[in-house]
Symmetry: C2
Subunit: 201 residues, 2 copies
């Protein structure tokens, strides 16, 4: 008995598909599920199957959606402004929605340009984004990709594309988080905060 039994091994291997879960964590998860959380484990299996069956992508913005068009894209009022916010993931859509300050539409890249990982423009749907630019309803794109090297590169790439269609492109502001203390902010962020300073009126 140097190893786990087949069904336990299979479960441990299957759990490793989860992000950030290695061998030890997967073992701990498997034991907890089989020992004390059997109802929860059965429920998880059902939820996985149900979500896989029902959740696809929005045909317009590519976010995860249970309908061919997600609720935001299906809302005619939100199309009227001609504002398109570009984000990396469906979680980012939720984050922007929670601010309550954006009334336009989204385009979800489901990733970012990353040539080293073989992720090019077509993999993040930029061909479909260009089609939308061609349709002429978009007046401004707000680039809300993450402030990482790859997120910045992606934002620049899309800004160049927007320029070819005379569409205004803006990048969300980066700086010291509200409530944060200067002392604990990393120097790149602080650099952004200085270069992006605004005149006090």
């Amino acid at each position: 008995m140097k190893k786990f039994s087949p069904a336990i091994s299979a479960l441990i291997d299957a759990l490793r598909v989860l992000p950030g879960v290695g061998q030890k964590t997967a073992q701990r998860m498997a034991f907890q599920l089989l020992d004390r959380q059997r109802d929860g484990a059965a429920h998880l299996a059902v939820a996985l199957e149900s979500a896989l069956e029902r959740v696809g992508r929005c045909n317009t913005c590519r976010t995860l959606s249970e309908t061919p068009e997600c609720p935001v894209c299906a809302d005619p009022e939100r199309a009227s402004a001609g504002l398109l916010c570009i984000v990396e993931s469906p979680a980012d859509v939720i984050a922007v929605e929670q601010t309550g300050q954006f009334q336009g539409q989204y385009f979800v890249l489901m990733g970012r340009l990353s040539p080293l990982d073989g992720i090019g423009p077509a993999d993040i749907g930029l061909d479909r984004l260009e089609e939308r630019f061609q349709q002429g309803q978009v007046k401004e794109v707000i680039l809300a990709t993450n402030p990482t090297l790859e997120g910045d590169t992606t934002a620049h790439f899309i800004a160049d594309m927007a320029r070819r269609y005379q569409i205004q492109a803006s990048r969300i502001a980066h700086g010291v988080p509200v409530g944060g203390e200067l002392e604990y902010v990393d120097h790149t962020t602080l650099g952004h905060a200085f270069s992006g300073r605004k005149t006090v009126l």
Copy 2:
């Protein structure tokens, strides 16, 4: 669209059953599974169902097992020594097996005594352990519960029980880990290492 759609919400909630997984991690897991790991997610659902169906507990030592008796308990050679190692979890059985130094049998508590959490002797199978003591085949118990307050309490409790049946009880040694540096060892462990010192022969 301030919230996730029903199937995604249900999946996020279901993932929170995993140990150490909170709302944010569950969100990230759900999106990764639905976006890039759909095969892995389907595989995980099947592995969960299969493990739940096939894995139960060993009737003798309580460890997770696909057969009524786990391979260790079913091995007559391992019973002959009369050695019983008490551990908290099936993962601990694997850890001890990997040392290759123990040829006896195990008893898996599937927990530890924790009165504050309402976990008493019956919850960790001590009634069944006592039955084994009564049967008279056990000559020595090796207490390999974790060196935590609760693990130590559990070990003491079982040692007292063993004494009533004239069974020798020993506790595994605690001290400085092999390859560890004194400087980085916490003082409780170092205290154990000093009080458990051995004469150099």
